[in-house]
């Protein structure tokens, strides 16, 4: 029982990191209608920025995270402006997908050039050791608690932002019908830029938490969590903010539990298998809206 609880908490921790990344994924997908394959690499960039400012220059971790958020936001806006926007109305949606892959290669190899391939050990931004329950038999790390709280805060913030603000409403409008939104006088370019800004800022936050929970840093740190978070976003119903949260948590918990109770070698196959099963039962994910083509 206790080992189950421990695994569950570990799954929650991993899951909430997936959730934060997935929130960024799902925002960008829902509004810009593109799979930003480079999202995972934005996380890596965020990690390196925090690493430089906090570990190398000795800045306060919170200040380092703020700097990372600002820089990642700038990176996101620039990438959108330079690489994605020109292709927004391209004849095939694959064009921008391939470009995103190009951006991903670019960021990884740039980081390789600048920082080298050596692993860097990341100092956790959460110095708190955590709490111990049931006389020490269940330990919950500080970073786990912080991660879960932060992901919940972000979820609430995003929900409020999208439903209660003008900009958020504009996002909803753009995500539903870009053409109609434009006719209604919404600045689509601005809205999509804002989406990328938010998505990239979330990537920086996710980077801080990811690297704190799993403190090793290489140019490829973001790639696999990025893909897993993408899976989580799809699992939850891509475009749905609560869906991304649920998808992330479900994925994280399943991953840890299947590693604990089934097989650590086949855990990835199981995780992807769950995705397949969910999508067969619900073809647009757990909370995805079923959009039927109008005849």
């Amino acid at each position: 029982m206790m080992s189950f609880l421990t695994s569950f908490v570990n799954g929650l921790s991993l899951g909430s990191i997936y959730a934060i990344i997935a929130l960024g994924y799902t925002m960008v997908y829902g509004i810009a209608k593109m799979l930003n394959f480079a999202h995972g690499d934005f996380i890596m960039v965020g990690c390196y920025i925090i690493f430089i400012f906090s570990s190398n220059l000795g800045l306060n971790p919170v200040a380092a995270i703020l700097i990372a958020i600002v820089l990642c936001t700038l990176l996101g806006i620039t990438t959108e402006r330079v690489a994605y926007r020109p292709l927004r109305n391209a004849a095939s949606p694959l064009a921008v997908l391939i470009t995103a892959i190009g951006v991903s290669y670019f960021l990884e190899n740039l980081a390789l050039l600048i920082f080298g391939a050596d692993t860097k050990s990341f100092t956790s931004v959460v110095p708190w050791a955590g709490i111990s329950l049931f006389g020490g038999s269940l330990q919950i790390q500080g970073i786990t608690i912080v991660t879960i709280l932060v992901s919940l805060l972000i979820l609430i913030f995003l929900q409020l932002f999208v439903h209660k603000t003008r900009e958020g409403q504009a996002m909803l409008a753009v995500s539903q019908d870009r053409g109609a939104a434009m006719l209604m006088g919404i600045d689509v370019n601005k809205t999509i830029t804002l989406t990328f800004a938010i998505g990239s800022a979330l990537a920086a936050v996710a980077g801080a938490l990811l690297a704190s929970a799993y403190p090793s840093l290489t140019p490829y740190t973001g790639a696999m969590p990025g893909i897993k978070a993408f899976v989580a976003a799809v699992l939850g119903g891509i475009g749905s903010i609560p869906g991304a949260m649920i998808g992330g948590l479900v994925l994280g918990i399943i991953e840890i539990l299947s590693r604990t109770y089934i097989s650590s070698q086949l855990a990835d196959a199981i995780v992807f298998g769950i995705l397949v099963v969910v999508l067969i039962v619900r073809p647009t994910g757990i909370l995805g809206k079923n959009i039927q083509e109008k005849v």
Binding site: S216, T260, S264
Partner: protein, 388 residues
Amino acid sequence: MKKKLLSIALTAVMAASLLAGCGGSGASGSSSSGDTFKIGVIGPLTGGAAAYGTAVQYSAQIAVDEINAAGGINGKQVELKAEDDELDAQKSVNAYNSLKDWGMDMLVGCVTSACSIAVSEETKNDNMFQLTPSGSALDCVKYDNVFRVCFSDPAQGAASAQYIGQNGIASKVGVIYDSSDVYSSGIYQTFAQEAANQGFEIVSAEAFTADSKTDFSVQIQKAKDAGAELVFLPIYYTEASLILQQANTMGYKPIFFGCDGLDGILGVENFDTSLAEGAMLLTPFAADATDELTQSFVKSFEAKYEITPNQFGADAYDAIYAIKAAAEKENVTPSMSVTEIGDAMKKGMTEISIDGLTSTGMTWDASGEPTKEPKAVVIKDGAYVSAQ
């Protein structure tokens, strides 16, 4: 229009590549230049394993620079060229072919096992002398033209088990290994086999894969729950540093025991070395060793590349000196053809004994396996200290 452009581009690329090849054409049989030894290095210089590839490249360069400064091999200068294989066996063969075009006389590579095996199929056909610094899988030295500097995986796995058993370090042992990695699962296999003879019990053996190597809570938890006093980590230091940190936050403090892949853990930038306190590793090289050779090597490496070398680098450094020794023994000259060099080196390698970074009195037999002493070191006060 677009298609035409593409076709033109294709033709241009083809033409360029053919032209590029002309320089090295006819090189497959004999060396193109008779004045210098051309030694090739193949390893992952980019990608997730780049740390190992670059370590080999840099260390080999240091050895070559030293040799050149001291007058070269048999009076001939040595040229070194490294090619990237991105940890991909096919790209490794591409890299080998590229080096052949350059006029390579001997190969130091590949850094990793699978690539090394793939390339050995090619070197066998060319009778190119191949000395892999760190290709540790059994099949790496299947052919008589291939030798290696490092221990083989089975040797490491068995030696680790013997060391633990004979010194009575622990009776309950947990293992965490990378099932998607050849090196790691290779060591694990022989370790598990030998454990049965050594009177200790493997209470948990948990794998992870390249796609899920951020979270180790499950594997650590299982070892902890099974009451393992020692956790054997036949993995690379990147993941090991994570495991040590996560175990620490989970309040689990067993003895950690690793193989040569664990070396370098103290060099991870920003790593809290106190976590590794008491960890043991069976490695032929420790950057903090006090002997003169190691110290001068580490000093010039750090001066040149601003990072601390690891055992991959040490293997490569020794590889270059082994080549020097064997070449001098058999009076190999750059003007000989590749296959002549190959034959001479095969003979030479079995006749030398060198004192290198990774062992003293290293010798080789015709099978290509080195004979050297595994050294157990323990991490104490943030430094490697000999365990015995």
